[in-house]
Homo-oligomer: 196 residues x 2
DNA sequence: CGTTTTTCTTAAACTATCTTATTGTTTTAA
DNA sequence: TTAAAACAATAAGATAGTTTAAGAAAAACG
Protein backbone atom coordinates (compact mmCIF):
# COMPACT_ATOMS: atom_id res chain seq x y z
CA UNK A 1 0.00 0.00 0.00
CA UNK A 2 2.46 2.59 1.11
CA UNK A 3 5.22 0.90 -0.88
CA UNK A 4 4.45 2.74 -4.10
CA UNK A 5 3.76 6.03 -2.36
CA UNK A 6 7.42 6.34 -1.47
CA UNK A 7 7.94 7.36 -5.08
CA UNK A 8 6.83 10.86 -4.09
CA UNK A 9 9.90 11.21 -1.92
CA UNK A 10 12.20 9.59 -4.46
CA UNK A 11 10.97 12.08 -7.05
CA UNK A 12 11.70 14.86 -4.63
CA UNK A 13 15.29 13.69 -4.19
CA UNK A 14 15.71 13.54 -7.97
CA UNK A 15 16.01 17.32 -7.91
CA UNK A 16 18.94 17.10 -5.54
CA UNK A 17 20.87 13.88 -4.90
CA UNK A 18 19.06 10.76 -6.10
CA UNK A 19 19.55 8.02 -3.54
CA UNK A 20 20.88 4.50 -4.13
CA UNK A 21 18.55 1.58 -4.81
CA UNK A 22 19.34 -0.01 -1.44
CA UNK A 23 18.46 3.21 0.36
CA UNK A 24 15.25 3.46 -1.62
CA UNK A 25 14.39 -0.02 -0.36
CA UNK A 26 15.17 0.98 3.21
CA UNK A 27 13.03 4.06 2.78
CA UNK A 28 10.20 2.02 1.32
CA UNK A 29 10.19 -0.12 4.44
CA UNK A 30 10.26 2.89 6.77
CA UNK A 31 7.71 5.16 5.19
CA UNK A 32 4.10 5.00 6.29
CA UNK A 33 1.31 6.45 4.19
CA UNK A 34 -1.49 8.10 6.07
CA UNK A 35 -4.69 9.90 5.18
CA UNK A 36 -5.89 12.68 7.44
CA UNK A 37 -9.30 14.18 7.75
CA UNK A 38 -9.75 17.91 7.75
CA UNK A 39 -8.81 19.27 11.20
CA UNK A 40 -7.11 16.05 12.24
CA UNK A 41 -4.04 16.54 14.44
CA UNK A 42 -0.78 14.63 14.02
CA UNK A 43 1.06 16.50 16.76
CA UNK A 44 -0.20 18.25 19.87
CA UNK A 45 1.47 20.47 22.42
CA UNK A 46 2.95 18.36 25.18
CA UNK A 47 3.55 15.31 23.00
CA UNK A 48 6.95 14.31 21.73
CA UNK A 49 7.27 14.66 18.00
CA UNK A 50 8.37 11.25 16.75
CA UNK A 51 8.00 11.68 13.02
CA UNK A 52 9.06 13.71 10.08
CA UNK A 53 6.25 14.30 7.61
CA UNK A 54 6.13 14.73 3.85
CA UNK A 55 2.94 16.09 2.31
CA UNK A 56 1.68 14.18 -0.73
CA UNK A 57 -1.61 16.04 -1.09
CA UNK A 58 -3.35 18.64 1.05
CA UNK A 59 -2.19 21.24 3.56
CA UNK A 60 -0.73 20.99 7.05
CA UNK A 61 -0.24 23.85 9.45
CA UNK A 62 2.30 24.05 12.23
CA UNK A 63 1.20 26.39 14.99
CA UNK A 64 1.62 27.46 18.58
CA UNK A 65 -1.08 28.33 21.07
CA UNK A 66 -0.20 31.03 23.58
CA UNK A 67 -1.37 31.56 27.15
CA UNK A 68 -4.45 33.42 25.98
CA UNK A 69 -5.43 30.60 23.66
CA UNK A 70 -4.45 32.47 20.52
CA UNK A 71 -3.05 30.45 17.66
CA UNK A 72 0.05 31.55 15.76
CA UNK A 73 0.87 29.85 12.47
CA UNK A 74 4.53 29.12 12.04
CA UNK A 75 4.43 27.23 8.79
CA UNK A 76 2.16 25.75 6.18
CA UNK A 77 3.18 22.65 4.26
CA UNK A 78 1.53 21.82 0.96
CA UNK A 79 2.35 19.22 -1.67
CA UNK A 80 6.01 18.10 -1.73
CA UNK A 81 7.01 19.85 1.45
CA UNK A 82 8.53 18.44 4.62
CA UNK A 83 7.31 19.30 8.09
CA UNK A 84 8.25 18.39 11.63
CA UNK A 85 9.09 19.97 14.97
CA UNK A 86 12.87 19.64 14.76
CA UNK A 87 13.35 20.77 18.33
CA UNK A 88 11.11 18.09 19.79
CA UNK A 89 12.24 15.43 17.31
CA UNK A 90 15.96 15.77 17.92
CA UNK A 91 16.07 16.80 21.56
CA UNK A 92 13.39 14.40 22.72
CA UNK A 93 11.52 17.18 24.44
CA UNK A 94 7.74 17.67 24.59
CA UNK A 95 6.60 19.83 21.72
CA UNK A 96 5.22 23.32 22.17
CA UNK A 97 3.54 23.04 18.80
CA UNK A 98 0.60 21.52 16.99
CA UNK A 99 0.42 20.08 13.50
CA UNK A 100 -3.03 19.92 11.98
CA UNK A 101 -4.52 19.24 8.56
CA UNK A 102 -6.40 22.15 7.00
CA UNK A 103 -7.84 19.96 4.25
CA UNK A 104 -8.20 16.21 3.84
CA UNK A 105 -4.50 15.46 3.55
CA UNK A 106 -2.28 12.55 2.51
CA UNK A 107 1.13 12.30 4.10
CA UNK A 108 4.14 10.05 4.32
CA UNK A 109 5.69 9.75 7.73
CA UNK A 110 9.06 8.43 8.87
CA UNK A 111 9.60 7.45 12.47
CA UNK A 112 12.55 9.04 14.26
CA UNK A 113 14.30 5.70 14.72
CA UNK A 114 13.96 4.84 11.04
CA UNK A 115 15.12 8.31 10.08
CA UNK A 116 18.32 7.83 12.03
CA UNK A 117 18.88 4.44 10.39
CA UNK A 118 18.51 6.12 7.02
CA UNK A 119 21.01 8.82 8.00
CA UNK A 120 23.49 6.17 9.08
CA UNK A 121 23.10 4.03 6.01
CA UNK A 122 23.01 6.67 3.35
CA UNK A 123 25.18 9.78 3.21
CA UNK A 124 23.14 10.85 0.22
CA UNK A 125 19.93 10.70 2.20
CA UNK A 126 21.62 12.63 4.98
CA UNK A 127 22.77 15.21 2.46
CA UNK A 128 19.31 15.57 0.97
CA UNK A 129 17.95 16.32 4.39
CA UNK A 130 20.68 18.90 4.94
CA UNK A 131 19.51 20.60 1.78
CA UNK A 132 15.86 20.34 2.84
CA UNK A 133 16.76 22.08 6.08
CA UNK A 134 18.90 24.71 4.39
CA UNK A 135 16.07 25.60 2.05
CA UNK A 136 13.64 25.80 4.94
CA UNK A 137 16.12 28.01 6.79
CA UNK A 138 16.48 30.39 3.84
CA UNK A 139 12.74 30.72 3.42
CA UNK A 140 12.21 31.25 7.13
CA UNK A 141 14.94 33.87 7.17
CA UNK A 142 13.24 35.80 4.41
CA UNK A 143 10.02 35.69 6.33
CA UNK A 144 11.70 36.81 9.52
CA UNK A 145 13.26 39.73 7.69
CA UNK A 146 9.86 40.68 6.31
CA UNK A 147 8.31 40.42 9.73
CA UNK A 148 10.78 42.73 11.45
CA UNK A 149 11.07 45.21 8.61
CA UNK A 150 7.74 45.47 6.80
CA UNK A 151 4.25 46.64 7.53
CA UNK A 152 1.35 44.19 7.63
CA UNK A 153 0.10 45.40 4.25
CA UNK A 154 3.44 44.67 2.63
CA UNK A 155 3.61 41.26 4.29
CA UNK A 156 0.14 40.38 3.06
CA UNK A 157 0.90 41.40 -0.51
CA UNK A 158 4.15 39.45 -0.40
CA UNK A 159 2.26 36.41 0.84
CA UNK A 160 -0.29 36.67 -1.97
CA UNK A 161 2.46 36.94 -4.56
CA UNK A 162 4.56 34.16 -3.14
CA UNK A 163 1.77 31.67 -2.42
CA UNK A 164 -1.05 32.50 -4.85
CA UNK A 165 -2.37 28.95 -4.77
CA UNK A 166 -2.25 28.60 -0.99
CA UNK A 167 -3.92 31.99 -0.59
CA UNK A 168 -7.02 30.59 -2.20
CA UNK A 169 -6.99 27.32 -0.32
CA UNK A 170 -6.88 28.59 3.22
CA UNK A 171 -9.04 31.05 5.14
CA UNK A 172 -8.09 34.61 5.96
CA UNK A 173 -8.10 33.67 9.61
CA UNK A 174 -5.21 31.31 8.87
CA UNK A 175 -3.38 33.91 6.80
CA UNK A 176 -3.81 36.54 9.51
CA UNK A 177 -2.38 34.16 12.08
CA UNK A 178 0.58 33.53 9.80
CA UNK A 179 1.20 37.23 9.21
CA UNK A 180 0.98 37.98 12.92
CA UNK A 181 -2.10 40.22 12.81
CA UNK A 182 -5.70 39.86 13.91
CA UNK A 183 -8.32 38.69 11.37
CA UNK A 184 -10.09 42.03 11.78
CA UNK A 185 -7.00 43.94 10.82
CA UNK A 186 -6.36 41.69 7.83
CA UNK A 187 -9.90 42.34 6.77
CA UNK A 188 -9.31 46.08 6.86
CA UNK A 189 -6.09 45.63 4.91
CA UNK A 190 -7.96 43.68 2.25
CA UNK A 191 -10.52 46.40 1.94
CA UNK A 192 -7.83 49.01 1.40
CA UNK A 193 -5.80 47.04 -1.11
CA UNK A 194 -8.73 45.90 -3.24
CA UNK A 195 -9.76 49.51 -3.84
CA UNK A 196 -6.32 50.53 -5.08
CA UNK B 1 49.37 30.19 11.01
CA UNK B 2 45.79 29.20 10.42
CA UNK B 3 46.72 25.53 10.72
CA UNK B 4 46.33 25.45 14.47
CA UNK B 5 43.24 27.64 14.46
CA UNK B 6 41.24 24.89 12.79
CA UNK B 7 41.16 23.25 16.19
CA UNK B 8 38.27 25.57 17.08
CA UNK B 9 36.13 23.88 14.48
CA UNK B 10 37.33 20.40 15.39
CA UNK B 11 36.37 21.09 19.00
CA UNK B 12 32.98 22.21 17.83
CA UNK B 13 32.43 18.94 15.97
CA UNK B 14 33.45 16.99 19.08
CA UNK B 15 30.02 17.80 20.50
CA UNK B 16 28.34 16.16 17.52
CA UNK B 17 30.19 13.85 15.10
CA UNK B 18 33.99 14.08 15.38
CA UNK B 19 35.46 13.95 11.90
CA UNK B 20 38.15 11.58 10.60
CA UNK B 21 41.83 12.54 10.65
CA UNK B 22 41.95 12.78 6.86
CA UNK B 23 39.01 15.15 6.84
CA UNK B 24 40.63 17.21 9.57
CA UNK B 25 43.65 17.54 7.30
CA UNK B 26 41.47 18.59 4.39
CA UNK B 27 39.76 21.11 6.60
CA UNK B 28 43.09 22.42 7.83
CA UNK B 29 44.08 23.12 4.25
CA UNK B 30 40.79 24.83 3.43
CA UNK B 31 40.28 27.03 6.43
CA UNK B 32 41.57 30.59 6.44
CA UNK B 33 42.02 32.54 9.64
CA UNK B 34 41.20 36.21 9.46
CA UNK B 35 41.15 39.12 11.87
CA UNK B 36 38.59 41.84 11.38
CA UNK B 37 38.59 45.37 12.71
CA UNK B 38 35.52 46.73 14.36
CA UNK B 39 32.98 47.72 11.66
CA UNK B 40 34.81 45.80 8.94
CA UNK B 41 32.54 44.16 6.36
CA UNK B 42 33.00 40.65 5.02
CA UNK B 43 29.87 40.65 2.89
CA UNK B 44 28.00 43.49 1.24
CA UNK B 45 24.68 43.67 -0.52
CA UNK B 46 25.14 42.94 -4.21
CA UNK B 47 28.17 40.70 -3.73
CA UNK B 48 28.01 36.94 -3.99
CA UNK B 49 28.61 35.23 -0.69
CA UNK B 50 31.49 32.84 -1.30
CA UNK B 51 32.30 31.74 2.20
CA UNK B 52 30.91 30.18 5.29
CA UNK B 53 32.23 31.78 8.48
CA UNK B 54 32.96 30.47 11.96
CA UNK B 55 33.50 33.00 14.74
CA UNK B 56 36.51 32.32 16.96
CA UNK B 57 36.31 35.54 18.96
CA UNK B 58 34.14 38.62 18.67
CA UNK B 59 30.71 39.36 17.20
CA UNK B 60 29.38 39.46 13.66
CA UNK B 61 26.03 40.80 12.62
CA UNK B 62 24.04 39.77 9.54
CA UNK B 63 21.68 42.50 8.42
CA UNK B 64 19.60 43.88 5.61
CA UNK B 65 19.24 47.50 4.57
CA UNK B 66 15.83 48.50 3.24
CA UNK B 67 14.87 51.12 0.67
CA UNK B 68 14.81 53.83 3.32
CA UNK B 69 18.31 52.97 4.46
CA UNK B 70 17.14 51.33 7.69
CA UNK B 71 19.12 48.38 8.95
CA UNK B 72 17.44 45.22 10.17
CA UNK B 73 19.53 42.71 12.09
CA UNK B 74 18.77 39.13 11.16
CA UNK B 75 21.37 37.37 13.25
CA UNK B 76 24.31 37.88 15.55
CA UNK B 77 27.13 35.37 15.66
CA UNK B 78 29.44 35.22 18.66
CA UNK B 79 32.11 32.73 19.65
CA UNK B 80 31.64 29.21 18.22
CA UNK B 81 28.80 30.11 15.88
CA UNK B 82 28.55 29.71 12.13
CA UNK B 83 27.32 32.42 9.82
CA UNK B 84 26.74 32.81 6.11
CA UNK B 85 24.10 33.86 3.61
CA UNK B 86 22.92 30.40 2.59
CA UNK B 87 20.75 31.75 -0.18
CA UNK B 88 23.57 33.55 -1.91
CA UNK B 89 26.12 30.84 -1.15
CA UNK B 90 24.16 27.94 -2.60
CA UNK B 91 22.20 29.61 -5.37
CA UNK B 92 25.06 31.75 -6.62
CA UNK B 93 22.90 34.84 -6.44
CA UNK B 94 23.96 38.33 -5.31
CA UNK B 95 23.35 38.74 -1.62
CA UNK B 96 20.74 41.09 -0.21
CA UNK B 97 22.61 41.11 3.09
CA UNK B 98 25.62 42.52 4.86
CA UNK B 99 27.91 40.85 7.36
CA UNK B 100 29.88 43.19 9.59
CA UNK B 101 32.03 42.90 12.71
CA UNK B 102 30.67 44.68 15.78
CA UNK B 103 33.92 44.20 17.69
CA UNK B 104 37.46 43.34 16.63
CA UNK B 105 36.69 39.80 15.53
CA UNK B 106 38.63 36.65 14.59
CA UNK B 107 37.02 34.27 12.15
CA UNK B 108 37.71 31.13 10.19
CA UNK B 109 36.38 31.08 6.67
CA UNK B 110 35.86 28.25 4.20
CA UNK B 111 35.49 28.98 0.52
CA UNK B 112 32.41 27.57 -1.20
CA UNK B 113 34.50 25.33 -3.47
CA UNK B 114 36.40 23.89 -0.53
CA UNK B 115 33.18 23.43 1.41
CA UNK B 116 31.76 21.30 -1.38
CA UNK B 117 34.94 19.22 -1.49
CA UNK B 118 34.56 18.62 2.24
CA UNK B 119 30.93 17.58 1.80
CA UNK B 120 31.94 15.14 -0.92
CA UNK B 121 34.82 13.63 0.98
CA UNK B 122 33.31 13.36 4.41
CA UNK B 123 29.77 12.27 5.19
CA UNK B 124 30.49 13.13 8.80
CA UNK B 125 31.37 16.69 7.91
CA UNK B 126 28.23 16.87 5.79
CA UNK B 127 26.20 15.56 8.73
CA UNK B 128 27.72 18.05 11.15
CA UNK B 129 26.67 20.83 8.85
CA UNK B 130 23.18 19.38 8.66
CA UNK B 131 23.02 19.60 12.43
CA UNK B 132 24.42 23.13 12.43
CA UNK B 133 21.65 24.14 10.06
CA UNK B 134 18.97 22.30 12.01
CA UNK B 135 19.98 24.06 15.19
CA UNK B 136 19.98 27.39 13.44
CA UNK B 137 16.54 26.61 12.04
CA UNK B 138 15.12 25.74 15.46
CA UNK B 139 16.48 28.92 17.00
CA UNK B 140 15.20 31.03 14.16
CA UNK B 141 11.80 29.39 14.41
CA UNK B 142 11.55 30.28 18.07
CA UNK B 143 12.43 33.84 17.26
CA UNK B 144 9.89 33.98 14.46
CA UNK B 145 7.22 32.69 16.81
CA UNK B 146 8.13 35.36 19.33
CA UNK B 147 8.04 38.02 16.67
CA UNK B 148 4.56 37.20 15.43
CA UNK B 149 3.08 36.47 18.84
CA UNK B 150 4.71 38.70 21.46
CA UNK B 151 4.89 42.36 22.27
CA UNK B 152 8.18 44.25 22.01
CA UNK B 153 8.54 44.27 25.80
CA UNK B 154 8.29 40.52 25.97
CA UNK B 155 10.73 40.09 23.10
CA UNK B 156 13.23 42.37 24.79
CA UNK B 157 13.03 40.53 28.10
CA UNK B 158 13.36 37.21 26.30
CA UNK B 159 16.43 38.52 24.51
CA UNK B 160 18.03 39.66 27.77
CA UNK B 161 17.39 36.26 29.36
CA UNK B 162 18.56 34.26 26.40
CA UNK B 163 21.66 36.28 25.53
CA UNK B 164 22.77 37.96 28.78
CA UNK B 165 26.38 38.17 27.62
CA UNK B 166 25.58 39.52 24.18
CA UNK B 167 23.20 42.08 25.68
CA UNK B 168 26.14 43.71 27.39
CA UNK B 169 28.46 43.57 24.43
CA UNK B 170 26.31 45.26 21.82
CA UNK B 171 24.52 48.61 21.79
CA UNK B 172 20.80 49.05 22.27
CA UNK B 173 20.61 50.36 18.74
CA UNK B 174 21.68 46.90 17.57
CA UNK B 175 19.24 45.16 19.89
CA UNK B 176 16.38 47.39 18.73
CA UNK B 177 17.17 46.57 15.12
CA UNK B 178 17.15 42.87 16.01
CA UNK B 179 13.84 43.11 17.85
CA UNK B 180 12.26 45.05 15.01
CA UNK B 181 11.59 48.30 16.86
CA UNK B 182 13.08 51.78 16.81
CA UNK B 183 15.85 52.67 19.28
CA UNK B 184 13.56 55.31 20.76
CA UNK B 185 10.89 52.78 21.51
CA UNK B 186 13.39 50.38 23.01
CA UNK B 187 14.55 53.20 25.23
CA UNK B 188 11.00 53.74 26.47
CA UNK B 189 10.65 50.00 27.09
CA UNK B 190 13.84 50.04 29.13
CA UNK B 191 12.60 52.92 31.18
CA UNK B 192 9.37 51.08 31.98
CA UNK B 193 10.96 47.73 32.82
CA UNK B 194 13.73 49.12 35.01
CA UNK B 195 11.18 50.79 37.29
CA UNK B 196 9.24 47.56 37.87
C1' DC C 1 44.37 63.45 26.72
C1' DG C 2 40.80 65.84 24.03
C1' DT C 3 37.80 65.53 20.08
C1' DT C 4 34.65 63.19 17.24
C1' DT C 5 31.26 59.88 16.69
C1' DT C 6 27.93 57.04 18.40
C1' DT C 7 24.54 56.06 21.69
C1' DC C 8 20.87 56.98 24.94
C1' DT C 9 16.94 59.53 26.57
C1' DT C 10 12.80 62.46 26.46
C1' DA C 11 8.56 64.19 24.70
C1' DA C 12 4.77 65.24 21.61
C1' DA C 13 2.26 64.29 17.61
C1' DC C 14 1.18 60.77 14.54
C1' DT C 15 0.17 56.05 12.48
C1' DA C 16 -0.45 51.10 12.81
C1' DT C 17 -2.54 47.64 14.97
C1' DC C 18 -5.64 45.62 18.59
C1' DT C 19 -9.95 44.93 21.10
C1' DT C 20 -14.55 44.38 21.36
C1' DA C 21 -18.95 44.09 19.63
C1' DT C 22 -22.42 43.52 16.00
C1' DT C 23 -24.16 41.59 11.72
C1' DG C 24 -24.51 38.90 7.66
C1' DT C 25 -22.54 34.98 5.06
C1' DT C 26 -20.48 30.64 4.16
C1' DT C 27 -19.16 25.91 5.59
C1' DT C 28 -19.67 21.92 8.21
C1' DA C 29 -21.78 18.14 10.23
C1' DA C 30 -25.65 15.65 11.75
C1' DT D 1 -31.49 19.80 4.57
C1' DT D 2 -31.11 22.23 8.47
C1' DA D 3 -28.88 23.75 12.84
C1' DA D 4 -24.48 24.90 14.47
C1' DA D 5 -20.11 26.57 13.77
C1' DA D 6 -16.73 29.13 11.49
C1' DC D 7 -15.75 33.08 8.64
C1' DA D 8 -15.84 37.82 6.85
C1' DA D 9 -16.84 42.71 7.16
C1' DT D 10 -17.34 46.95 9.71
C1' DA D 11 -16.75 50.48 13.15
C1' DA D 12 -15.21 52.95 17.39
C1' DG D 13 -12.23 53.45 21.08
C1' DA D 14 -7.71 51.79 23.21
C1' DT D 15 -2.85 50.57 23.01
C1' DA D 16 1.63 49.81 20.74
C1' DG D 17 4.98 51.59 18.07
C1' DT D 18 6.98 55.52 14.97
C1' DT D 19 8.62 59.98 13.79
C1' DT D 20 10.99 63.99 14.59
C1' DA D 21 13.91 66.86 17.03
C1' DA D 22 16.98 68.07 20.61
C1' DG D 23 20.23 67.61 24.34
C1' DA D 24 23.18 64.69 27.48
C1' DA D 25 26.15 60.74 28.18
C1' DA D 26 29.28 57.39 26.75
C1' DA D 27 32.52 55.24 23.84
C1' DA D 28 35.94 55.25 20.11
C1' DC D 29 40.06 56.80 18.44
C1' DG D 30 43.90 59.48 17.07
Amino acid sequence: MSSNKVQHILNYFEDYWPIEETTAQLLKNSVIFRELKRKEFILKQGEKCNYIYFVVKGVLKLFHTDDNGNQHNLQFATEKLWLTDFGSLYNDTPSELYIQALEPTSILQIKKKDLFVLYDNSPLFDRNMRIVTENAFIEQQNRLLQTISSTAIERYQYFLNKYPDLSNRISNVQIASYLGVTPEFLSSIRKKTVNT
